[in-house]
Symmetry: C2
Subunit: 136 residues, 2 copies
Amino acid sequence: MATMTAAQKREQARTAYDAFLRACPTNQLLDRLSDKWVSLVLAALSSGPMRYSDLSRKIAGVSPKMLTQTLRALERDGLVTRTVTPSVPVRVDYELTELGGSLAQLMTAVKTWAETHFDEVHAAREQYDAGNAAAS
Amino acid sequence: MATMTAAQKREQARTAYDAFLRACPTNQLLDRLSDKWVSLVLAALSSGPMRYSDLSRKIAGVSPKMLTQTLRALERDGLVTRTVTPSVPVRVDYELTELGGSLAQLMTAVKTWAETHFDEVHAAREQYDAGNAAAS
DNA sequence: TGAGGTAGGCACCTTCAGGTAACTACTTCC
DNA sequence: GGAAGTAGTTACCTGAAGGTGCCTACCTCA
């Protein structure tokens, strides 16, 4: 029975995890929030509504595919609104909803934490790296 | 000059992005925080110190590799402490530092947001999906 | 008149994060 | 004496996220 220990345990653990953590709606939202581009788009939009091309310029490193994908996800979750103005060249504006705004505030709080404690983290890193190098 | 438009622009954009956003220390910390396992480990440790195997059981879905990797990263950033007790089988305890605790509180705030607004998000999703299906 | 901008969609292709499995050294329990 | 647990490390491999290029359709400006 030695052959099934690892596999079986893994299987059991996975099942337990699915039931215990994966099914938790909070976790699903957390996953969404931890997306790389979501925070950037949220930050960009927190200074007011923007058009698609404005966003792609402001965030710069984002590919059109990812930008569209991220915006669709945020729109689906009711965090941003997508307003199409059927003018001469079709113009599309994206804007934070109230819900999105409240989330953006939270992200700002996290950002503030990062800014406040960055020096501590940085010091810890240097100390860790130095200790690591010396220990060898 | 038509051949360089896309490539050149992309290059420029990438450079601008690197200088403008990637170099921002806050962004680096944000990246760390948005890690999938970091939040889970933080949540697990917020209820008190735990041993390696305790963590691997509690979080379940995590592989030993990812757990070690996550813990090392957190330790390096001064968010958790790693205490080795050279007892009979080497025993290792992980515990949140003060810094880690403050971050865990922030994550809890985000979690609270997610719990509070989950129904709104869920409603938005259903509406979006329904509208999408009907529109076709 | 054709090049460029606006708002993406589609398909391919690469990369790398993360999973899996196997191994270590030491000890204790059966 | 060997199987199992503790705390990992290492090498290998896959799958999915994300990047890139190419396409549309319409309009305007040089």
